[in-house]
Symmetry: C2
Protein backbone atom coordinates (compact mmCIF):
# COMPACT_ATOMS: atom_id res chain seq x y z
CA UNK A 1 0.00 0.00 0.00
CA UNK A 2 2.51 2.59 1.10
CA UNK A 3 5.44 1.55 -1.00
CA UNK A 4 5.76 2.87 -4.50
CA UNK A 5 5.17 6.48 -5.36
CA UNK A 6 2.33 8.52 -3.98
CA UNK A 7 -0.91 8.89 -5.84
CA UNK A 8 -1.17 12.66 -5.55
CA UNK A 9 -0.19 15.63 -3.40
CA UNK A 10 -3.59 15.79 -1.75
CA UNK A 11 -3.22 15.82 2.04
CA UNK A 12 -6.06 13.35 2.44
CA UNK A 13 -4.60 10.96 -0.10
CA UNK A 14 -1.12 11.15 1.41
CA UNK A 15 -2.48 10.54 4.88
CA UNK A 16 -4.53 7.58 3.73
CA UNK A 17 -1.45 6.04 2.19
CA UNK A 18 0.07 5.89 5.66
CA UNK A 19 -2.83 4.81 7.86
CA UNK A 20 -5.83 4.56 5.53
CA UNK A 21 -6.48 0.86 5.69
CA UNK A 22 -8.89 -1.24 7.66
CA UNK A 23 -6.55 -1.81 10.60
CA UNK A 24 -4.07 0.97 11.27
CA UNK A 25 -6.47 3.33 12.98
CA UNK A 26 -7.59 0.51 15.25
CA UNK A 27 -4.01 -0.03 16.34
CA UNK A 28 -3.77 3.69 17.01
CA UNK A 29 -7.06 3.62 18.89
CA UNK A 30 -5.74 0.82 21.09
CA UNK A 31 -2.63 2.85 21.83
CA UNK A 32 -4.68 5.90 22.69
CA UNK A 33 -6.81 4.09 25.20
CA UNK A 34 -4.12 1.85 26.67
CA UNK A 35 -1.15 4.26 26.28
CA UNK A 36 1.09 1.32 25.52
CA UNK A 37 0.51 -2.15 24.14
CA UNK A 38 2.39 -5.33 23.49
CA UNK A 39 2.04 -7.34 20.33
CA UNK A 40 -0.35 -9.73 21.95
CA UNK A 41 -2.42 -6.89 23.39
CA UNK A 42 -3.18 -5.88 19.83
CA UNK A 43 -4.01 -9.46 18.93
CA UNK A 44 -6.52 -9.56 21.77
CA UNK A 45 -8.51 -6.61 20.41
CA UNK A 46 -12.08 -7.59 19.57
CA UNK A 47 -11.70 -7.05 15.84
CA UNK A 48 -9.27 -9.95 15.60
CA UNK A 49 -6.44 -8.78 13.42
CA UNK A 50 -4.37 -11.55 11.87
CA UNK A 51 -0.86 -11.79 13.21
CA UNK A 52 0.93 -11.32 9.91
CA UNK A 53 -1.18 -8.25 9.11
CA UNK A 54 -0.46 -6.85 12.55
CA UNK A 55 3.27 -7.30 12.10
CA UNK A 56 3.09 -5.58 8.75
CA UNK A 57 1.03 -2.63 10.01
CA UNK A 58 3.25 -2.11 13.02
CA UNK A 59 6.21 -2.04 10.68
CA UNK A 60 4.60 0.54 8.40
CA UNK A 61 3.44 2.69 11.30
CA UNK A 62 6.90 2.61 12.80
CA UNK A 63 8.53 3.46 9.47
CA UNK A 64 6.23 6.45 9.27
CA UNK A 65 7.00 7.39 12.84
CA UNK A 66 3.46 7.11 14.07
CA UNK A 67 4.50 4.59 16.70
CA UNK A 68 7.75 3.43 18.17
CA UNK A 69 8.98 0.26 19.80
CA UNK A 70 10.66 0.11 23.14
CA UNK A 71 11.67 -2.72 25.33
CA UNK A 72 9.50 -3.98 28.11
CA UNK A 73 11.02 -3.07 31.49
CA UNK A 74 10.43 -6.43 33.10
CA UNK A 75 10.63 -8.91 30.28
CA UNK A 76 13.10 -8.75 27.43
CA UNK A 77 10.99 -10.98 25.23
CA UNK A 78 8.13 -8.47 25.28
CA UNK A 79 8.00 -5.35 23.18
CA UNK A 80 6.11 -2.21 24.06
CA UNK A 81 4.55 -0.06 21.40
CA UNK A 82 3.73 3.58 21.99
CA UNK A 83 2.55 6.51 19.98
CA UNK A 84 4.97 9.20 18.93
CA UNK A 85 3.89 12.82 18.94
CA UNK A 86 2.92 12.41 15.30
CA UNK A 87 0.72 9.51 16.33
CA UNK A 88 -0.72 11.31 19.31
CA UNK A 89 -1.76 14.12 17.01
CA UNK A 90 -4.12 11.74 15.26
CA UNK A 91 -6.38 12.06 18.31
CA UNK A 92 -8.60 14.79 16.81
CA UNK A 93 -9.30 12.52 13.85
CA UNK A 94 -10.21 9.63 16.12
CA UNK A 95 -12.47 11.91 18.10
CA UNK A 96 -14.27 13.21 15.04
CA UNK A 97 -14.79 9.65 13.85
CA UNK A 98 -16.33 8.83 17.21
CA UNK A 99 -18.59 11.85 17.06
CA UNK A 100 -19.73 10.97 13.58
CA UNK A 101 -20.34 7.37 14.58
CA UNK A 102 -22.31 8.47 17.61
CA UNK A 103 -24.58 10.52 15.38
CA UNK A 104 -25.17 7.93 12.67
CA UNK A 105 -24.38 4.48 13.99
CA UNK A 106 -25.23 2.79 17.23
CA UNK A 107 -22.37 2.79 19.65
CA UNK A 108 -21.73 1.21 23.04
CA UNK A 109 -22.35 2.90 26.38
CA UNK A 110 -18.74 3.42 27.39
CA UNK A 111 -18.03 5.26 24.15
CA UNK A 112 -20.97 7.51 24.89
CA UNK A 113 -19.59 8.37 28.30
CA UNK A 114 -16.29 9.42 26.76
CA UNK A 115 -18.08 11.47 24.14
CA UNK A 116 -20.05 13.31 26.75
CA UNK A 117 -16.75 14.60 28.03
CA UNK A 118 -15.71 15.54 24.54
CA UNK A 119 -18.86 17.49 23.86
CA UNK A 120 -18.54 19.37 27.10
CA UNK A 121 -15.33 20.96 25.87
CA UNK A 122 -13.66 19.42 22.88
CA UNK A 123 -10.57 21.62 22.86
CA UNK A 124 -9.90 21.02 26.50
CA UNK A 125 -10.50 17.29 26.17
CA UNK A 126 -7.99 17.03 23.36
CA UNK A 127 -5.50 19.19 25.18
CA UNK A 128 -5.56 17.14 28.35
CA UNK A 129 -5.65 13.76 26.64
CA UNK A 130 -2.76 14.82 24.44
CA UNK A 131 -0.79 16.03 27.42
CA UNK A 132 -1.37 12.77 29.20
CA UNK A 133 -0.06 10.77 26.28
CA UNK A 134 2.87 13.09 25.76
CA UNK A 135 4.10 12.47 29.26
CA UNK A 136 5.15 9.01 28.13
CA UNK A 137 7.39 10.45 25.45
CA UNK A 138 9.72 11.60 28.31
Amino acid sequence: MQNGKKRSDCPVSCSLEIWGDKWSLLIIRDLMTAKQCTYSDFLRSPEGIATNILADRLKVLEENQIIRKLEHPENKSKVLYRLTRKGIDLLPIIIEINLWAEKYLSIPKDSKAMLRQVRKNKTEFIRSATKEMEELLH
Copy 2:
Protein backbone atom coordinates in the same frame (compact mmCIF):
# COMPACT_ATOMS: atom_id res chain seq x y z
CA MET B 1 -15.38 -5.17 3.09
CA GLN B 2 -18.69 -4.00 4.46
CA ASN B 3 -20.74 -7.12 3.84
CA GLY B 4 -20.71 -9.84 6.42
CA LYS B 5 -21.03 -9.09 10.10
CA LYS B 6 -19.23 -6.28 11.82
CA ARG B 7 -15.94 -6.83 13.55
CA SER B 8 -16.87 -5.13 16.79
CA ASP B 9 -19.07 -2.43 18.30
CA CYS B 10 -16.25 0.09 18.39
CA PRO B 11 -17.32 3.33 16.72
CA VAL B 12 -14.02 3.61 14.92
CA SER B 13 -14.21 0.07 13.63
CA CYS B 14 -17.80 0.44 12.47
CA SER B 15 -17.01 3.68 10.70
CA LEU B 16 -13.99 2.20 8.97
CA GLU B 17 -16.11 -0.64 7.70
CA ILE B 18 -18.14 1.89 5.76
CA TRP B 19 -15.57 4.31 4.40
CA GLY B 20 -12.23 3.09 5.79
CA ASP B 21 -10.54 2.02 2.60
CA LYS B 22 -8.03 3.69 0.35
CA TRP B 23 -10.60 5.36 -1.89
CA SER B 24 -13.87 6.24 -0.19
CA LEU B 25 -12.67 9.35 1.59
CA LEU B 26 -11.22 10.62 -1.67
CA ILE B 27 -14.62 10.30 -3.30
CA ILE B 28 -16.08 12.19 -0.36
CA ARG B 29 -13.35 14.81 -0.60
CA ASP B 30 -14.18 15.31 -4.27
CA LEU B 31 -17.82 15.79 -3.40
CA MET B 32 -16.98 18.29 -0.70
CA THR B 33 -14.92 20.46 -2.98
CA ALA B 34 -17.07 20.12 -6.10
CA LYS B 35 -20.48 19.77 -4.38
CA GLN B 36 -21.56 17.35 -7.06
CA CYS B 37 -19.72 15.03 -9.41
CA THR B 38 -20.41 12.71 -12.28
CA TYR B 39 -18.88 9.29 -12.59
CA SER B 40 -16.24 10.57 -14.98
CA ASP B 41 -15.43 13.49 -12.70
CA PHE B 42 -14.33 10.95 -10.11
CA LEU B 43 -12.32 9.08 -12.70
CA ARG B 44 -10.49 12.29 -13.56
CA SER B 45 -9.24 12.80 -10.00
CA PRO B 46 -5.46 12.78 -9.82
CA GLU B 47 -5.24 9.58 -7.79
CA GLY B 48 -6.60 7.56 -10.72
CA ILE B 49 -9.18 5.24 -9.26
CA ALA B 50 -9.98 2.23 -11.41
CA THR B 51 -13.45 2.28 -12.87
CA ASN B 52 -14.62 -0.99 -11.36
CA ILE B 53 -13.42 0.07 -7.92
CA LEU B 54 -15.17 3.39 -8.32
CA ALA B 55 -18.45 1.69 -9.24
CA ASP B 56 -18.14 -0.56 -6.21
CA ARG B 57 -17.35 2.28 -3.77
CA LEU B 58 -20.16 4.45 -5.06
CA LYS B 59 -22.50 1.52 -4.54
CA VAL B 60 -21.34 0.95 -0.97
CA LEU B 61 -21.44 4.64 -0.11
CA GLU B 62 -24.93 4.90 -1.51
CA GLU B 63 -26.08 1.80 0.37
CA ASN B 64 -24.79 3.43 3.53
CA GLN B 65 -26.47 6.70 2.66
CA ILE B 66 -23.29 8.71 2.55
CA ILE B 67 -24.02 9.79 -1.00
CA ARG B 68 -26.99 9.68 -3.29
CA LYS B 69 -27.53 9.59 -7.02
CA LEU B 70 -29.72 11.99 -8.91
CA GLU B 71 -30.25 12.55 -12.55
CA HIS B 72 -28.39 15.20 -14.42
CA PRO B 73 -30.73 18.06 -15.33
CA GLU B 74 -29.51 18.45 -18.88
CA ASN B 75 -28.38 15.03 -19.92
CA LYS B 76 -30.18 11.80 -19.17
CA SER B 77 -27.10 9.70 -19.73
CA LYS B 78 -25.22 11.47 -16.95
CA VAL B 79 -25.63 10.77 -13.27
CA LEU B 80 -24.94 13.24 -10.51
CA TYR B 81 -23.60 12.18 -7.14
CA ARG B 82 -24.02 14.30 -4.05
CA LEU B 83 -23.39 13.97 -0.35
CA THR B 84 -26.25 13.32 2.01
CA ARG B 85 -26.31 14.99 5.40
CA LYS B 86 -24.59 11.92 6.79
CA GLY B 87 -21.87 12.40 4.20
CA ILE B 88 -21.63 16.13 4.77
CA ASP B 89 -21.04 15.45 8.44
CA LEU B 90 -17.79 13.73 7.55
CA LEU B 91 -16.36 17.20 6.95
CA PRO B 92 -14.80 17.53 10.43
CA ILE B 93 -12.91 14.31 9.84
CA ILE B 94 -11.64 15.51 6.48
CA ILE B 95 -10.57 18.77 8.06
CA GLU B 96 -8.71 17.08 10.88
CA ILE B 97 -6.94 14.88 8.37
CA ASN B 98 -5.89 17.98 6.47
CA LEU B 99 -4.64 19.65 9.63
CA TRP B 100 -2.64 16.59 10.58
CA ALA B 101 -1.20 16.32 7.09
CA GLU B 102 -0.26 19.98 7.13
CA LYS B 103 1.69 19.44 10.31
CA TYR B 104 3.52 16.29 9.33
CA LEU B 105 3.55 15.93 5.56
CA SER B 106 4.23 18.43 2.83
CA ILE B 107 1.10 19.70 1.25
CA PRO B 108 0.31 21.93 -1.74
CA LYS B 109 -0.24 25.67 -1.58
CA ASP B 110 -3.95 25.68 -2.24
CA SER B 111 -4.55 23.31 0.65
CA LYS B 112 -2.61 25.65 2.88
CA ALA B 113 -4.81 28.56 1.91
CA MET B 114 -7.91 26.61 2.87
CA LEU B 115 -6.35 25.59 6.15
CA ARG B 116 -5.55 29.17 7.02
CA GLN B 117 -9.27 29.77 6.96
CA VAL B 118 -9.86 26.74 9.12
CA ARG B 119 -7.36 27.80 11.71
CA LYS B 120 -8.84 31.25 11.89
CA ASN B 121 -12.08 29.81 13.24
CA LYS B 122 -12.62 26.10 12.86
CA THR B 123 -16.16 25.97 14.21
CA GLU B 124 -17.32 28.76 11.97
CA PHE B 125 -15.56 27.28 8.95
CA ILE B 126 -17.30 23.96 9.45
CA ARG B 127 -20.61 25.64 10.10
CA SER B 128 -20.55 27.68 6.94
CA ALA B 129 -19.14 24.95 4.71
CA THR B 130 -21.75 22.56 6.03
CA LYS B 131 -24.51 25.03 5.43
CA GLU B 132 -23.34 25.58 1.89
CA MET B 133 -23.40 21.86 1.16
CA GLU B 134 -26.74 21.38 2.86
CA GLU B 135 -28.37 23.88 0.56
CA LEU B 136 -28.10 21.31 -2.20
CA LEU B 137 -30.12 18.83 -0.20
CA HIS B 138 -33.15 21.05 -0.99
